[in-house]
Amino acid sequence: MAFAGLHRTRIPPPTMTTTRLVIIGNGMAGLRTLEELLPLRPPGLSVTVFGAEDRPAYNRIQLSPVLAGEMDLDEVALRPASWYAEQGVTLHLDQTVVEVDRQHREVRCASGLRAGYDRLVLATGSLPFMPPLPGRELAGVMAYRDVADTQAMIAAAQAYRQAVVIGGGLLGLEAACGLARRGMAVTVVHLAPWLMERQLDRPAGALLAAALGRRGLHFALGAPTEALLGDAAGRVRAVRLKDGRELPASLVVVAAGIRPRTELAQAMGLQCDHGGRGGVRVTDTLQSVTDPRVYAVGECASHRGTAYGLVAPAYEQARVCANHLAGLGVARYPGSQTSTQLKVSGIALFSAGDFMGGEGCEEIVLDDPAAGVYRKLVLREGRLVGACLYGDTQDGPDLLRLIRAGTPVTTGRDALMFDPAGVLAAGTEASGAPPPTRPARLAAGTALDAHQALPA
């Protein structure tokens, strides 16, 4: 903290012995990169972190429990500002970086603050996608992304009775459940014919809808929204669907997906996929393909064409990125086998890999309607490539390991649904490879509980 004032006024001069690292973004990906880097920190590495929010890093995933009243805001903080100081890291909160001069390797904030860099990590995350709906500017219409949104929703729940959540994805459902817990009558309007279609197949989606329906949520599925209607005071009063229905609502939460936040990267001239909607294109060492000094991790990065909207890949990327930043250069990021496992009000579901199957795929399905359990495994060429579990997800991690292992499961096929751990062990024995131990990261990565934005 002693040098804080200096940083505000003076850019440290480059020296032969100092490498300046700047991390733009103090979210979960940026912080994890820092945390991975610190133990490997080479001598002479200075680190500066810019965060746009005015609070230290927090666990975005825990915002849903906060909304639902199950946790307090203080409980979701990850690292206090003092921690950065203790680690000798410069932290700038409430500073939005508006420009990066790659020529001069300098980062500039809206406030005029500047910082030079030798290495730059972009961890800008994503923004909620706001579809171009008429009336989206009305009061009471909001997205759900950060602490401020959460607080606004909590406030609205105290003042109003009816809410509509547009978007039956993970985030939308968590918002809806949270609002319902806070006493609102909530209808979820969803474009696709079933809920969470990016994570669940139709039967699992139907089970989820039934379970949430029992908890008081209402659904309009396969229902495009036409407009948001306002009252005289300019506050939203209803949502009108294309089929003509009008759903009264004093609060409309739009959770229609996310977009990687790439406006800065585009301004820097970094190559981004899909004109920016796809994230900053990076290599297997998380360096941007345009400028090897610049890295991108987390939701703003596009690796081999995929921008992940989940925490587990972000953490895996952070680990590789840190390894590279430390100059070790041995780690490569090959992409993530993502999985989703969440608990909405005690509802367990899990999906991983290519759970929708399709051409060339084989499906094994288990259905236990009374217990509310559904499981689908997808195989291609005798290998497990996807899984979708609803109701009982305890085998999820083992299935994910099987998907990652990619070994044929011909002999173990009949046991796959019931004893994937056994199949995993047997497969390992057969191949003579050492038993895969569960990486510590993976445990964290598969226990995502909320706020995993949808992949763009």
Binding site: E363, L366, D367, P369, D414, D419
Partner: protein, 958 residues
């Protein structure tokens, strides 16, 4: 409390002819007990008889009986209801038309040893006195005709000379070609009593299989002669050779009372012990022991049944056995004689009225002009036809060849019970007009009928029957006829009158009978002066004095217990005839192409084609499903595990069944129960040929004298059945729907390579229970060459309520090898525990046997239902999940594991231990059919070390 009425009647199953007391309450049969006053059973009933009341339950009747006349608009169509008048008029018109166009030879009437004497009498009169042919035959042809011919050839008349009382008086009992422990359980109980009273009584059992009867003999120090199939005559000739050699011949008896001994003596000279041993596969010392007991430990009683009769040399087998009794004089004495055990409840009565193609009323001969004239006179017709009619096998062959145009089938199921089913089915298809007169709508034959006439059955019928010991008993109705059913005699008489109006109006009055008693009186008159003279008997006497043995001549007050006591036989000269018969052997010996001997026989808890016993789930507790029994060596030679499907192929057809390992079946033999017809077992070959039950395999070759076919044996080959796609579906169902559902499911049989469909479970005792709450189960198992079409499977799932939204499912449709579909339906008991209600395992059927056991056990599931979907659930669960122990006692549902465990606690001598076991578990204390098994277990399972007899004798008294 409603008034309980008790009706005295007779059991409709085997020829022992047990008396039953039927309890009725408010128009329902609520219970059945053995009649303590009936001389056949003295109050006992077997596992089949003691459950008769359950077969008469209202929901069973509703689901399985034929309750109104039905007419098929065309073959293969669903039959539609018609009134009795319309049905009988149509029958009369069509029969008359065929009679006029083609003559009397165009019509065949095929009846049953289960008909009452009165029914039989009217049918016989109808054919011989109205139609003018002798084309009436009966399923007794498949059962007793060799015994008839054997008796007539040697003793001169179709009359078993012995009585049941002889069982207790015999010193040596030679049981040959009979598994009476299962087929005639109440007689076997009497035999067990006899040996208990006289431990010196010796039992010799001749049977290729180690049956329960054979095992019982061995356990008691007797002999089991496991002879080669079909070598009976060699055995009897060999025994006669030894009897002569050992000096047991009764020269005086031979000289005074017989003829033809010298020729026979010449013949048996060649049957030395060594040669006999070679021919029969027996040991010389066993032959010698048997001969010494037979001739030395007298009196000697022979008990025999289908093992002798169902043979192409059945008459000769019977006669060769009777030779032994004549040569030793072991006949006409208390405790001695050749005693043929009748298979059916009234085969005897049928013979008495002459209801066969080669007989006339009251044991008269067709060939005898005097006899024919007597019958014609009695009936008031100018003549009765002389030419013998077509016997059972011939009748259906003639219909298959198109010679016979109409078949009238009553109270029997030829599409199950006749050999060479392919020919039988062709006959039923080719005949222009098929009448099936039946109590049950469920028989395979019913499917071929143009006209279905509903008949009464046990509990409703009224008349008389004659059992194995010539004893006439009354069959009395406890209930009115079900639905529109009528008595068989009344249907025959009514149709006869209508038919007579077309073809012989002057004979209409011949069939005017007001009551069964009126029919019976006419029959009685026909016996006057005959060997079976019953002119001294009346319904009133049966009422007052109970069942009576014939003969009972006018003026006598009591029947005749034993025949030929004076050494005077029923031949013209009063001398019995020795039968000098050659030993020919099997009709179809095994050869390189068909190297295995297929034997058939009965099960303990089933009877014949199972149209009645098959309605009770609990009677499947002892033998749960159709299997083929093979020696473990045979299985390993085929490279098969127990339970694997085996294709049994004969020259006439094939059958697929699961294999069961049985040490009691010799390695070159196979055994399939005679009961398994298309009602429970089916399928089709890959080219669409339907599998027609066990008698799709058997040979129609018959004895040239008795015309009885060799149902007991044919040559087969065994192949592993490659039906990789499997289905097991099993469900608990309301008893009020299960049997009807079974009829629906049965229709799927031809769509599989193999399918078996059997009930399981345990009906509650009727008296106490609400039928709507009672449950029974259905077990469907099937196999196919390739995955079966979804449309068919959907029908089956729907039928078993396995398409409901609450069904647990596991599906792997693209599984390499076989697809897998596994469904479960669960229920909860009062305590909230999950029970398995139904399951379905299709495609890959791993672990299905274990699920079957789990469902049948109907206990709280050991783990969440979902985990049962795992194909390897059993392995995952470890030893906690075991396949259910086999049921031993049907009456009290006691299984082998409990018995074994209890026996460890029982000390003392075998009788004491058995008594303790029975006190503790009640097994074998009701019908006693499982007693031979229990005795076997007592022998095999030792008491736990440290138990003292003193302690156990306390237990016995308690």
């Amino acid at each position: 409390m409603t008034q309980t009425t008790t009706t005295r009647s007779t059991c409709p199953y085997c020829g022992v002819g047990c008396g039953v007391l039927i309890q009725t309450q408010a128009g329902r049969i609520t219970g059945v007990q053995g009649d303590p006053d009936h001389p056949a059973n003295l109050g006992r009933l077997c596992s089949k008889g003691s459950t008769l009341h359950l077969t008469a339950a209202e929901h069973v009747t509703r689901q399985t009986r034929l309750l109104q006349p039905l007419r098929r608009p065309q073959r293969g169509a669903e039959p539609v209801a018609v009134g009795w008048d319309a049905a009988l008029d149509e029958a009369a018109q069509r029969l008359a038309a065929l009679h006029q166009a083609h003559g009397p030879d165009a019509i065949g009437v095929y009846v049953s040893g289960q008909l009452l004497t009165e029914d039989y009498y009217v049918f016989n009169k109808l054919v011989k006195g109205l139609l003018g042919s002798n084309h009436i035959d009966t399923n007794s042809r498949l059962c007793m005709s060799s015994a008839v011919a054997g008796y007539k050839a040697t003793l001169g008349a179709d009359a078993p000379p012995c009585s049941y009382t002889d069982l207790a008086l015999a010193q040596t009992v030679f049981i040959t070609g009979s598994n009476m422990a299962w087929a005639h359980p109440i007689l076997f109980r009497r035999l067990e009593d006899a040996r208990r009273a006289n431990p010196a009584q010796k039992w010799i059992v001749a049977d290729p299989r180690r049956t329960e009867t054979a095992a019982a003999a061995v356990e008691a120090g007797g002999l089991h002669l496991a002879l080669r199939p079909g070598s009976d005559i060699a055995l009897y000739h060999g025994l006669l050779h030894l009897l002569l050699w050992e000096g047991f011949a009764n020269a005086a008896f031979i000289a005074e009372h017989t003829r033809g001994f010298d020729a026979l003596k010449d013949r048996v000279r060649d049957f030395t012990p060594r040669r006999t041993a070679e021919l029969t596969g027996l040991r010389e010392e066993d032959l010698l022991t048997a001969a010494r007991w037979f001739g030395g430990a007298t009196p000697t009683l022979s008990l025999y049944c289908q093992g002798l009769n169902q043979s192409r040399e059945g008459t000769a087998k019977n006669a060769a056995l009777i030779n032994l009794h004549l040569a030793t004089g072991q006949i006409g004495l208390p405790g001695a004689g050749p005693f043929s055990l009748t298979g059916q409840p009234n085969a005897m009565g049928g013979r008495e009225v002459g209801g066969l193609a080669n007989l006339l009323s009251a044991h008269r001969d067709l060939a005898n002009p005097e006899h024919r004239a007597e019958v014609a006179r009695l009936w008031g017709v100018p003549e009765v036809p002389a030419r013998p009619g077509l016997t059972a096998v011939e009748m259906f062959q003639a219909a298959a060849d198109g010679q016979l145009k109409a078949l009238w089938i009553a109270c029997t199921n030829p599409a199950q019970s006749l050999p060479d089913q392919a020919t039988v089915r062709r006959a039923l298809e080719r005949a222009e007009f098929v009448i099936v007169q039946e109590a049950f709508a469920t028989t395979a034959t019913a499917a071929y009928a143009d006209l279905l006439l509903p008949a009464t059955t046990w509990g409703e019928k009224d008349g008389t029957v004659t059992n194995s010991e010539r004893r006439i008993s009354r069959v009395r109705p406890a209930l009115p006829a079900a639905g529109q059913a009528r008595h068989d005699w009344a249907i025959a008489a009514d149709l006869a009158r209508r038919l007579a109006r077309h073809i012989a109006p002057e004979r209409v009055a011949m069939f005017d009978y007001p009551t069964p008693e009126a029919v019976w009186r006419e029959h009685r008159e026909s016996t006057r002066g005959r060997d079976l003279d019953i002119t001294g008997l009346s319904y009133a006497m049966l009422e007052q004095n109970g069942p009576q043995q014939w003969p009972l001549r006018e003026g006598q007050h009591q029947g005749t217990e034993r025949l030929y006591e004076d050494g005077h036989f029923a031949t013209p000269d009063g001398r019995a005839r020795f039968a000098d018969v050659p030993f020919l052997g099997l009709a179809e010996p095994v050869d390189a192409d068909y190297p295995v001997s297929l034997l058939t026989g009965r099960l303990r808890d089933q009877w014949h084609g199972m149209s009645r016993t098959g309605t009770l789930a609990r009677l499947f507790g002892h033998e749960g499903e159709p299997v083929v029994d093979l020696h473990p060596q045979t299985l390993s030679r085929l490279g098969l595990e127990e339970g694997a499907l085996v294709r049994v192929v004969s020259r006439r057809g094939q059958l697929v069944l699961p294999a069961r390992a049985q040490e009691g079946v010799a390695p070159d033999q196979a055994f399939i129960a005679m009961h398994w017809g298309q009602e429970v077992l089916g399928g089709a070959t890959e080219n669409g040929q339907a599998l027609l039950g066990v008698n799709g395999l058997t040979t129609p070759a018959f004895c040239d004298r008795s015309k009885q076919p060799e149902l007991k044996h044919c040559a087969v080959r065994l192949e592993p059945a490659a039906l990789p796609w499997r289905l097991t579906a099993m469900a608990w169902l309301p008893a009020t729907r299960a049997l009807a559902l079974r009829e629906r499911l049965k229709r799927a049989m031809p769509d599989f390579g193999w399918m078996s469909l059997v009930p399981f479970g345990r009906e509650p005792d009727a008296a106490a229970t609400d039928p709507d709450a009672a449950r029974v189960g259905l077990l469907l198992r099937a196999g196919a060459h390739r995955p079966v079409g979804e449309a068919l499977l959907a029908t089956l799932r729907q039928a078993l309520a396995l398409d409901q939204p609450d069904v647990l499912a596991y599906r792997d449709p693209q599984r390499p090898g076989q697809p897998a579909e596994r469904l479960l339906r669960l229920g909860r008991d009062a305590g909230g525990h999950e029970h398995l209600q139904a399951f379905w395992v299709a495609g890959d059927a791993s672990g299905e046997a274990w699920l079957r056991a789990l469902l049948q056990a109907d206990e709280a599931l050991p783990l969440p239902g979902r985990s049962l979907l795992a194909p390897q659930a059993q392995r995952l669960l470890g030893q906690g999940a075991t396949v259910r122990s086999p049921q031993v006692c049907t009456c009290f549902d006691v299984r082998e594991d409990r018995i074994t465990a209890q026996l460890a606690q029982c000390a003392g001598d075998p009788a004491q231990r058995l008594a303790q076991l029975q006190t503790a578990l009640r097994c074998g204390t009701n019908c006693g059919s499982c007693l031979p098994t229990l005795r076997g277990l007592v022998q095999r399972v030792p008491a736990a070390v440290g138990l003292t007899p003193a302690k156990s004798s306390t237990a016995t008294r308690s």
